[in-house]
Amino acid sequence: MMLTAAEADAVRLSLSIALRSVLFSLPLAILVAWLLTRRRLHGRLLLDAFVHLPLVLPPVVVGYLLLLLFGMRGPIGGWLYAHFGIQLVFTSAGAALATAVMSFPLMVRAIRISLEGVDSGLEDAARTLGAGAWDRFFTVMLPLMLPGILAGAVTAFSAGLGEFGAVITFVSNIPGETRTLPLALYTALQTPGGDAVAARLATISFTLGLLGLIAAEYIARRVRRMLGR
């Protein structure tokens, strides 16, 4: 199947935005997951709730909120623009941000589960060997969480490929800039007789997701073997 220029654009954009969103949110998600598993942290529940916000709110609303915060007139967006010349709204960077925000809870959840699955005895062992909290985190927890992190990243990447509402609301649907596959798909569906194009795009979406899964599966298998499971 040859892609038209517009389709190729959308594919390229989707991949790059999903990837950027994952790369951006992964370290943060790991950190947050870690914070959330520390029993004694104050305001843990609040942080938890905040992280889950994008999950419980409709994507469009998240898009609106992002616009309020990260728009050029928003408190954060304005500051970013004034100081760094960074513009998020109507750009692919903004699309990556919206995607990251939407998939953040999924990522945190996945990582958290795997974090909880790590035998605390091993952390104890590392402590007695002299590993401080950060050291332990990087040398014991992180490697053992790898399957969970991977799962979280794949979930986020896949979800990122399909992200729609928050993206279209925050950065609109600009060909070559923010028109990702789902937005192109939506555009096609809005046109009477656009079904054939939509089907094509859906197939592409699906194929990409599938490829991502296969890759993830392959990596996960290697990781699992490495961890001796």
Binding site: A125, A126, T128, P143, L227, G228
Partner: protein, 385 residues
Amino acid sequence: MFSIRAKKRRDGFVLDVEIEVSSPGVVALFGRSGCGKTTLANIIAGLLPADEAHIVIDGVALEQNGKSLQAEHRRIGYVFQDARLFPHLDVMGNLRYGEKRANRFVPALQGAPVTPRRELPRITLDVVAPLLGLEPLLSRRVHQLSGGERQRVALGRALLSGPRVLILDEPLASLDAARREEVLPYLEKLRDELAIPMIYVSHQFEEVLRLATHVVLMDKGKVLSQGSLDELSLHPELRAIVGPDAVGAVIHGVVESLDGGTGLANIRVGTNELRIGLRDAKAGAHVRTQLLARDIILATSRPDNLSVRNIMTGTIARIVPDDEDTELVYVDIGGASILSRVTRAASIALGLRAGLQVWALVKSVSIRGHAFVEGPLLKSSLPRA
């Protein structure tokens, strides 16, 4: 040297111990399954917060006045009852994990007097790997190890981490005798040459005999008794832990002379002399040995033509019942006490009674002497003899 007080309440179990050992060496925690040994070890290592604790080891305060050093700053090499190897690293990776952190900076407990840190000898992989037979395993993954192999790797990892103290929770339980025989001398070396203090949890009297300079007998979360192995070796509760066959007096002696040809050393014990197999000792060295009650034969006249090389004269101090059909006879051999188990039938036949002069026989091969190097570590823990 070790000054440990700890209280901890868990549902249905209360730990409340106080251990004071002024001399360095190996403290053996001895006690029945479930008596709280692991719990105490975890508190000392800083892994389990105690309700109340005062822990000073080797002059370094680890926990006192409600202040507590983090586990990672305690420099305690802990070999867990379950090996707890890192599954994502191979054997080499596990060993290196400890080694890499051996030279880490370690803060002192806030408010504690800063004692100049005794320079700890570096133990390297070159030494540890052959010693524990780890070379063929180095590139193995952890899940490919057998139970005993895991334990050896865990021991190696702890040794490499530059510990100030070693806590060993039944480290040899899953090793075969030969492997145990190989590892034990190294633990002795650690104690004598490297002077690494240890807390050693075990059910095996043999191991305790070879390693311990101080024994803590625990029961149901409490310290039942503590002191030198000599004193403890006569404690009745011991029988339940080590079994009747391991009951016997622990005695100290000094090597008088050595017979290079036979490998036998003459040891002065009180007013008597013992000949035991002991190749590596030097004249004048201190030797500790346990004379098992089961091995001691009593005679009412001097016997001859026996393969038995050790015949000691002494007087029966007292006779106490052991089990239904046997008795324990305490014999004073001049400067030391030994224990002999005899059947009641034999006791009656020989007319054994307190005050009777007897000859105590023991085969040289039945005696395992363990030479103690006269290092700074052990001097103070050695007996009056």
